[in-house]
Symmetry: C2
Subunit: 298 residues, 2 copies
């Protein structure tokens, strides 16, 4: 299979997103290229201590291997042992202002090959938003943008991927969702390559439309130590999810991926406190009572 | 099997350690008892924002189940399905002063029972120290205390458990040990119950002798933002190890353990920075070059 078109899309998407984020922040993103000894490599674009973003990264990676590990193909065990190729863009952004949510987006494609047989491919991806102080209209905008992006692919797609997202970004040890969700999909290969690739492009291309207007609306909101403290506490949940439950992170760390690129998803400053509970009726309590309850936002 | 003696030792050990830590800190530890719906419960003793300890916990837990999960018995698959009982003390302490190391200790016993057959039991445990600014004499003292505690059980025990500790507390995704090590053992049942129980008691009883003199020697050392910053950065490694690699933490979180007690091991304030490297010749570089290299300390 010729993966040039995929690569063009993913690298182009990374560049376009970074350009928009740089314009939003005012500071340039750093660029780090890396090579994976076992095959492939990537380009990490990242920012720390920006004017707006406290830490964030937009990673492109394209890695190849000679034998697909069984752990990578839970739903397709018959593919274990094939040569493989994985490519995608993954980003996490942590604004400094606690009124601005953290967000994550990922789009990826996997190809497994064997001489004399047809290539097997599938797409995956999604985006989700994690507010500290929720605003209903922001969550509606984020979800509506996801819904609009997926509408051309069938009315059933958004509800299905929205539900999948609620299930995936869930901290079982806290019985708590990571945030207000968004969309998530994996193992997508139904309807042909063109449809699947287009759907994946639609998700990737929708990210800045879903997220930047939320940031633009909240970036001037004043905040104090109280909000920063709650943000640092809630960021602990982000760390817990990514290190305990996120399959992509764990697979990367346990299979010799580039640690510094993978862990760009972790927040810059995090606090843990024992058995902390928000005061009843406070804005912090509202996060738990209103926004961390999965519901139909769009 | 009558586990009263075990319980007396573990609860007594918890009380004695907490009393010593309270005397050292000057502030009392909080006490939280909890019940596990599936059987058993525990007592968490913890401190936050103490005069000396920034955060720390000393947990006793005694949990029981009707059917041992296969994941808990990797080395004894034939025991899966037995009723079981696990009991132990686990502690992690995070001093505020970056010249004072973080430390961890755990001692535990597991019993698997089946009607008509003999109980199967085994002990596990250990302790390890994680300095931010290493001091050779402190590391030697910590290891020498472990070595002395294990000497009555055979000269081969300390080197074996010391090596096991180096292997266990290792961040594979960083190719880096968690700290300067100590001792670690698991699946201990050779030599009879009395010997194994005594060895486990010796490890538990040695903890404050190994650790408190180090803290006493360093607690008055002045520090500044630079040292606090490096401490916060290095604490990120502690989080990464506990959430990605520590079997006890993962088993606890994934099997419905009490999250707030398990995650008392996480530090109060943590920072992540991209691809941070210490300046050549700095005290921070010395940590990597001297202290994060496994070696014979005692």
């Amino acid at each position: 299979m010729d993966t040039t078109r995929l690569k063009d899309f993913f690298t182009g998407l990374q560049s376009r997103i970074v350009a928009e984020l740089e314009a939003f922040d005012g500071q340039p993103f750093r660029t780090d290229s890396w090579v994976r000894p076992e095959g492939g490599g990537g380009i990490s674009r990242l920012i720390e201590e920006g004017d707006f973003f406290e830490r964030g990264g937009v990673n492109f990676s394209h890695v190849t291997g000679k034998s697909l590990p069984a752990s990578a193909t839970a739903v397709r065990p018959q593919l274990a042992g094939r040569s493989w190729e994985a490519m995608g863009v993954s980003l996490v952004l942590h604004p400094r202002n606690p009124y601005c949510p953290t967000a994550h987006m990922n789009v990826r494609c996997f190809v497994a090959s064997k001489e004399g047989e047809e290539d097997v491919w599938w797409f995956g991806g999604g985006m989700d938003m994690t507010p500290y102080y929720g605003q209903r209209e922001d969550v509606v905008h984020f979800h509506q943008t996801c819904k609009d992006a997926l509408a051309p692919f069938g009315d059933e797609v958004y509800p299905k991927y929205k539900h999948w997202c609620d299930e995936y970004f869930f901290l079982k040890h806290r019985n708590e969702p990571r945030g207000v969700g968004g969309v998530f999909f994996d193992d997508l290969n139904e309807g042909g390559f063109e449809r699947c690739f287009e759907l994946t492009q639609a998700v990737g291309n929708a990210f800045t439309k879903a997220y930047l207007p939320v940031l633009a609306k909240r970036r001037e909101m004043p905040y104090d130590e109280r909000e920063r403290d709650f943000q640092a506490y809630r960021r602990g949940r982000y760390v817990e999810f990514n290190l305990v439950w996120d399959r992509g992170t764990l697979f990367g760390l346990q299979s010799g991926g580039r640690t510094e690129s993978i862990l760009m998803s972790l927040p810059p400053i995090v606090k843990w406190r024992y058995d902390w509970q928000p005061e009843a009726g406070s804005p912090e309590a509202e996060l738990y009572e209103v926004f961390l309850k999965p519901q139909d936002w769009a």
